[in-house]
């Protein structure tokens, strides 16, 4: 498969409408040369996974500020598994306490979580390192 650019779906699941972080990240990734699809608001995990597969992305980046992270990340992972799309990486950010971050990562529900204070530079680096591009 020929691919020269990393493809990312930036998603806002659930009912929360706070999209400042998601949009800043989306723009930073676009500025860093990635192809970014922004899902828009109020997406269900099902809708996000469907879009991710349809758009053939390398990574889903999810922003959760509503406290529902312990439900949403596992659900997305579950759906990716069901649809044989486990090669799509999952990362995210939002208002997520330290111990929940540890729990989610340890249980394999998400690859990485970036909380308020993380820089766009950090996130771009992480993505570039983790996403393998095939010649």
């Amino acid at each position: 498969m020929n691919k020269t650019r990393i493809r990312v779906l930036v998603g806002k699941p659930g009912l929360d409408g706070h999209d400042r972080g998601a949009k800043v990240i989306a723009r930073a990734l676009r500025d860093a040369g990635m192809e970014v699809i922004y899902s828009g608001l109020h997406q269900t995990p099902e809708q996000l996974v469907e879009a991710a597969i349809q758009e053939d992305v390398d990574l889903i980046g999810v922003s959760v500020l509503s406290g529902a992270h312990m439900t949403i990340f596992p659900r997305i992972k579950e759906l990716l598994k069901e649809q044989n799309a486990e090669d799509i990486l999952l990362m995210g950010g939002g208002t997520i306490p330290e111990e929940d971050i540890e729990a989610l990562i340890t249980a394999g529900h998400v690859e990485a979580l970036f909380t308020p204070g993380a820089t766009t530079t950090e996130i771009v680096s992480w993505i570039r390192e983790r996403v393998k591009l095939y010649e």
Partner: protein
């Protein structure tokens, strides 16, 4: 500028200057010194006025805090009505002087707690209110003729307001005694907060129905809280917050007039809601400019005759987006400075954030500190001893003027795009906000803007663990069980009849508030009422930009 100033400046220019840049958040360059030459064109009567006198730059009341302190009104709500009722009683016992309800995302978006979309979200960012039963529990033992309550609810505002009015009815308190506010500001939802349900036209109809119903039935109620807070939180500059909020305000005035009301019938009950961010003087200038701009437009453009129609009364909340995760205790300090700016800006009502709100809803300990912040400000600092103490400051008056000029420029741009609704369709506000948010983040990442604990004075050692408020997942299950029981025990025929009546009325142009109240009295749920309205009004879809 005087020769005296110019010679000072010549000397200043030879001196070393520390690393800048020296700009407000709105990118207004700040001079090292402001002097009489800066404010020589200001006319006291025309541009400032005494407090309580046109154009109200110095305050909306003649006596301001010498008469009465601002209302200490802490935004609160989590889990179910029972837990939130306890928190309200706690806050009242700790000296807060007004109530403010935070609802959960399902309630905000018009879903009942048992809806599939509500899964995982019940009670997490606010209190779950599904029906009148929950509203009654929320205010159990809180006499609604003795408190004023602000409810942060927008698309479903008519329903939650109806629930509050009926809950009060059941306490024996008539609607004409009720004081409080509903946020009810749909325009800023499309622009910034994004908790919309219906498209703009039916949403504006609901809002003007509320204006009309309030005039004759709930006359002491603030029917709307025209908000800049969320616009700012989404990333706008102070100037954009000011301009976009007031533009929304003018749009509501025009909507009320178009719906057949005389401006003085409803304008006295319009209120506002601003952010208080960390650039101290810019925030004060913003608030003073807001009062002056509103008064000038209401008198000049809209011909308001009642003095109350000219008054920009507002609530303020300190900036959530300025708080940091690392070294969370520093947030207490940020909140204190922001609270002081709000008070020096003449706010009528104030919420101060808790230090742990970066990661969770406030713990009891954190919210006490946040409330004490206001009390120290009110009783220990002396800033309330005189009215609008910064008036006449060369710097503050210059900034206030610059804010007003900048806002007027934005009003022209918005008019060119066909007003607020036209500008929303063009994604004008949304793009301005996204650009400003990106710029702010880049300033931080390039160290042009230092945030303590983030890119300056960072601790090597990890922070001590903080006890955060946790919402037990059992909350959701309990709320769903309660809802199921309610649906079984109520008169379902009556519910269906009221909903059918409401649907018919929604298709026409009758005021919907009485019909919504009928459904509420029958214990129809919020979700059921919204579903009926969605059927008639449709749903809004945004074309997202980043």
């Amino acid at each position: 500028m005087s020769n005296n100033f110019l010679s000072w400046k010549a000397n200043y220019d030879t001196l070393k200057e520390r690393k800048g840049p020296f700009f407000t958040v709105s990118s207004v360059p700040i001079d090292p010194l402001y002097a009489p030459g800066h404010t020589v064109d200001i006319d006291y009567q025309r541009d400032l006025g005494n407090p309580g006198e046109y154009p109200y730059t110095r305050g909306v009341q003649a006596n301001m805090y010498r008469g009465r302190l601002w209302t200490m009104r802490m935004f609160a709500g989590f889990a179910t009505a029972t837990e939130s009722n306890e928190r309200y009683k706690y806050l009242l016992s700790q000296g807060q002087t007004g109530l403010s309800v935070a609802f959960d995302m399902p309630t905000i978006m018009g879903y009942d707690s048992d809806h599939p979309r509500a899964y995982g979200e019940v009670g997490r960012v606010g209190v779950a209110i599904d029906s009148l039963q929950d509203m009654e529990t929320l205010f159990q033992d809180i006499p609604l003729d003795k408190v004023s309550t602000s409810m942060t609810i927008n698309a479903p505002a008519s329903i939650l307001w109806a629930m509050y009015i009926v809950a009060a009815e059941k306490q024996g308190v008539p609607a004409n005694k009720l004081t409080g506010t509903i946020q009810n500001d749909i325009l800023k939802e499309y622009i910034a907060q994004k908790s919309w349900i219906f498209p703009p036209d039916p949403s504006m109809r609901l809002i003007t129905d509320i204006f009309k119903f309030s005039k004759d039935n709930v006359p002491k109620w603030n029917t709307i809280s025209i908000s800049g807070y969320h616009i700012r939180e989404a990333g706008s500059t102070a100037l954009q917050e000011l301009a976009f909020t007031l533009a929304d305000g003018f749009a509501y005035v025009e909507a009320g007039i178009k719906a057949g009301l005389d401006v003085d019938d409803f304008a006295p009950r319009l209120s506002f809601f601003f952010n208080s961010h960390t650039d101290f003087f810019e925030e004060i200038a913003k608030l003073r400019a807001a009062r002056r701009i509103w008064a000038r437009h209401m008198k000049g453009k809209y011909g308001a005759k009642n003095e109350k129609s000219l008054l920009l009364r507002f609530h303020t909340q300190t900036a959530g987006c300025s708080l940091t995760g690392p070294q969370m205790e520093n947030n207490i300090v940020r909140t204190a400075y922001q609270a002081m700016a709000a008070v020096l800006g003449g706010t009528q009502s104030l919420h101060t954030n808790s230090m742990d709100e970066v990661l969770a809803l406030p713990s009891e300990k954190s919210v006490q500190i946040a409330l004490r912040t206001q009390q120290v400000l009110a009783y220990e600092t002396g800033v309330t001893n005189t009215i609008d103490p910064l008036a006449g400051s060369y710097f503050v008056e210059t900034l206030t003027n610059q804010m007003e000029e900048g806002a007027e420029e934005y009003f022209r741009k918005i008019d060119e795009l066909g007003g607020v609704l036209g500008a929303i369709r063009e994604n004008f506000f949304q793009q301005e906000i996204a650009d400003a948010a990106y710029r702010y983040q880049k300033e931080i990442e390039s160290n042009d803007r230092i945030i303590v604990g983030i890119n300056g004075f960072v601790n090597e050692k990890k922070d001590d663990k903080m006890e955060l408020l946790k919402i037990d997942p059992e909350v959701e299950r309990a709320q769903v069980r309660k809802l199921i029981a309610l649906k079984q025990s109520r008169d379902n025929i009556r519910v269906q009849t009221t909903l059918t009546d409401l649907k018919e009325a929604a298709k026409g142009s009758d005021n919907l508030i009485p019909k919504i109240m009928d459904s509420v009295r029958a214990y129809a749920t919020e979700g059921e009422i919204i579903a009926v309205l969605k059927d008639v009004f449709g749903e809004y879809r945004e074309q997202a930009v980043f």
